[in-house]
Symmetry: C2
Subunit: 195 residues, 2 copies
DNA sequence: TATATAAAATACCGATCGGTATGTTTTTGT
DNA sequence: ACAAAAACATACCGATCGGTATTTTATATA
């Protein structure tokens, strides 16, 4: 691993939470130099421009949540338990190892959908791939006789994601623990209803 | 109505969609002068600063959607039909009279939750008031024997909002009509399950 | 250890940022 | 119709924006 590669990773690691908190437009180059202790010359020596840092930051933030999900799912054998990881995913969203600022998919989606095609595409792909993953789990659960055979695959998957993301927004916005609890119960209920 | 009041409203009306599309940090004063055809002096003659325009813009965007909801609900007599307005609300969200840029509550929540306390508070109040309105409708529906008596009032209300807001994010982000349709069906199903 | 090379710091660029002080033009009440 | 006041335009402010050219420092290799 070369010096340049290490510095690149260092910059991304330090600045990813900033982009997630302040957004793309709200994050300045001086935010990046302050967070890293490096200078502009160093940032621009390792990245083409601000866009490239932002994209790498999204990838970093996204990887944190997707690898958490995968690792937690691997701990369970039944497909119902794997799906239920989404409830704890949601419950723990505001603690480590999740990045500050809430869900990076949601944050990026809202800011970039009308303004930044590249970031938008990243977020869009994340949603689609998440949906596919859930559909796959449900399908295997059906084959495995864990779930009913008449479950609406795609509708269940995409609606579960909508519920979780909407729930993250509400919980973070209002700070009300009770809202978080209630929505988490709905997530659990939606999964229990598959059986 | 004085000239100043008319100009103030004119500025808000013209700039509200810009704030909703570009966000607070992404909208500049020159965006405001371009959209209105006015000059900086005129903007700052009617508003203290950028913040004040942004807050008025949020109020304007929020009023558009809340008055739509109220007007549509008033067209129906049963509480189930009133609640089902949320499905058409969601289905029509990307056409007039809804402001460009998606749901202003959602947009403001995501950008402002860590960065702008005043805007955050506006969005937070909007969610809480929306939840109360839904709870009230369900309660009346229960008293009216339209809905089951064991419905979880607050959980149903807050989860319905989460589903809708998450759905708006996904639909706008991916542009996939099928996702929108599927989530809308989930909204309808959640309401039908109250009976 | 000397030298070539890569990486980081410095210093600077024009443009735009949010905001203001000062004119000039329109309203407004009489 | 007129003066006072309000509204709007112009011109400008320092600060910061994203980005670059150049110089200094660190690293790798012979």
């Amino acid at each position: 691993m070369s010096k340049a590669e290490r510095t690149r990773e260092f910059i991304v690691e330090k600045t990813a939470p900033i982009f997630n908190v302040k957004g793309y437009a709200g994050t300045s180059i001086s935010d990046l130099t302050e967070a890293t202790g490096l200078t502009k010359g160093s940032i621009y020596g390792n990245f083409e421009n601000k866009d490239e840092v932002a994209l790498a930051a999204f990838d970093c933030n996204y990887k944190k949540i997707s690898s958490y999900l995968k690792a937690e799912m691997d701990k369970h054998s039944s497909y119902k338990e794997k799906l239920l990881v989404h409830a704890s995913f949601y419950e723990n969203f505001f603690k480590a190892p999740f990045p500050d600022g809430g869900c990076p998919i949601l944050n990026t989606a809202i800011e970039a959908d009308d303004t930044h095609p590249q970031l938008r595409e990243r977020a869009s792909e994340a949603i689609t791939s998440w949906k596919s993953k859930i559909m796959e789990l449900i399908k295997k659960g059906i084959d495995n006789k864990e779930f009913r055979s008449d479950v609406q695959l795609e509708q269940t998957a995409i609606s579960l994601i909508a519920l979780i993301e909407g729930g993250i927004m509400i919980a973070k916005l209002t700070g009300k623990l009770n809202y978080r609890k209630l929505i988490m119960q709905s997530v659990e209920k939606a999964i229990n209803d598959l059986t």
